[in-house]
Amino acid sequence: MIMVQYDIVIVGGGPAGMAAAVAAYDAGCRDVVILDREVQAGGILMQCIHNGFGLHKLGKELTGPEYAAVYEEKVRSRNIPVYLETTVTSVSPDKIVTAQNRHGILKIQAKAVILAMGCRERSRGALNICGSRPSGVYSAGTAQKLVNCMGYQVGKRVVILGSGDIGLIMARRMSYEGAKVEAVCEVMPYSGGLTRNIVQCLEDFDIPLYLSTTVIQIHGKERLEGVTIAQVDEKRHPIEDTKRYIPCDTLLLSVGLIPENELTRSAGIPIDPVTNGALVDENCQTKVPGIFACGNVLQVHDLVDYVSEEAERAGVGAVKYINGLKASNTCIETKAGFGVRYVLPQTITSKDEDVALFLRVTQPFGKVKFSVTEGNKVLATTKKLKAAPGEMEKITVKASALQSVTGPITVDLEVL
């Protein structure tokens, strides 16, 4: 068995992994390697052929593959090695990374590990939709890969369950490909996707969006023949007399993403039950020193631009760790208060620099004011014209405001 050494091993070569590698390199670490199980780097971006990426981070509007290509070039120009078709099978708390590829099993002793495995889709099994098990039921991302990368036509008459961005994007994509999208159903009373996607993916194609509505039965033996949909009450129970049958040959499920944290868990790294990602500090360091996490494996993002930024913090944090720069006794916990589902990072370990807190709200709100407080003391505030669970919020707490903090800090929102 081969045993090699690297300063920083990055698990995953998607947008998070590549940005972390580039940031670590630029922070002075020349001994970085990226491991990825696919035949090409780029992760999920390679199947996201629609545009809208990079406006925030790169100042131009790109498609997914173009955004990935920008980072691939950054990786290539720095001669950072990328092992493709290499699947990491375990990460140990003492930072031995075990991977497997066509050459056999590879063990790498790292000084720091950055976890950037991304997330995967929730599937039909997680929903308990009753009915038969015909072909034609896909997770939206699977259908996206089949259509966009492999050129299959997955269906002609489509119902989409879930109005997250992937569901909306696929509604447009299937329409472009000549399919008829009969409906997008969303169990919640609001869409989980960006408003711009409702406009350009549904309204442009006259696709109806049914809120507080779900699929309650799947019909068909060999191939999907139709679905029964129904409105739901406030407890999300189907309302009997709203049941309706829609003939279709394809059902796409866009019903949530799960950070892919099997490696994280097996390394004994504590996971936040709300984000389903690791508990981290402001450098994206997990509770196991020297192991970092960033991108969708840490928290599911809505914009790749923010994935890249988070990964850069992880990359720089890993270099700081290797250089032994981390020696503070500070440990401030962050808490989610009223209207806030979670706050990330969960701990702050330094008062030397401003800290950005990322959060999601519990439900759609109009005009709100976010406040970061320690007891009665207000550390930071910011106002927004509207806030929705589908859009991540960011509040920066100044280093000067952190100086006097001793206990936990809480982020609340106030409806204005």
Partner: protein
């Protein structure tokens, strides 16, 4: 005439109000100049960037992703798709290579390299 719009240029998704008169379109609610341009276009000549794929004839089960280099009129989106359906390209192609020229007023360019 007044029209409520949601800007699709960036994820911020500003709610816009376009007031359409004989003298032109006045836009409010936009956080940046792109929002005004979007609303004026939307009321006069709505345009969209079309993103799609074309088959790579000399690679198994492989598609190259493509887009219109410029936004095309919204009612021409399906014409672009029709032109692409009958198009095949040969690898290798690089990002930015032109697949088709002047389709509905825009070139079609490659967005993913196929080696």
């Amino acid at each position: 005439m007044k029209r409520n719009l949601v800007c699709i240029i960036c994820p911020r998704g500003c709610s816009l109000l376009a007031d359409i008169t004989e003298n032109g379109v006045t836009v409010t609610g936009n956080a940046c100049p792109k929002g005004e341009e979007y609303a004026v276009n939307e009321c006069t000549n709505p345009v969209r960037t079309v993103t799609a794929t074309v088959r790579v004839s000399n690679r198994h089960n492989t598609m190259a992703s493509v887009k219109t280099a410029m936004p095309v009129p919204k009612d021409k989106m399906m014409d672009v798709m029709k032109a692409l359906r009958s198009t095949q390209i040969e690898a290798p192609v690089a990002v930015g290579d032109i697949v088709l020229k002047e389709i509905c007023g825009s070139d079609i360019i490659v967005t993913k390299a196929v080696l």
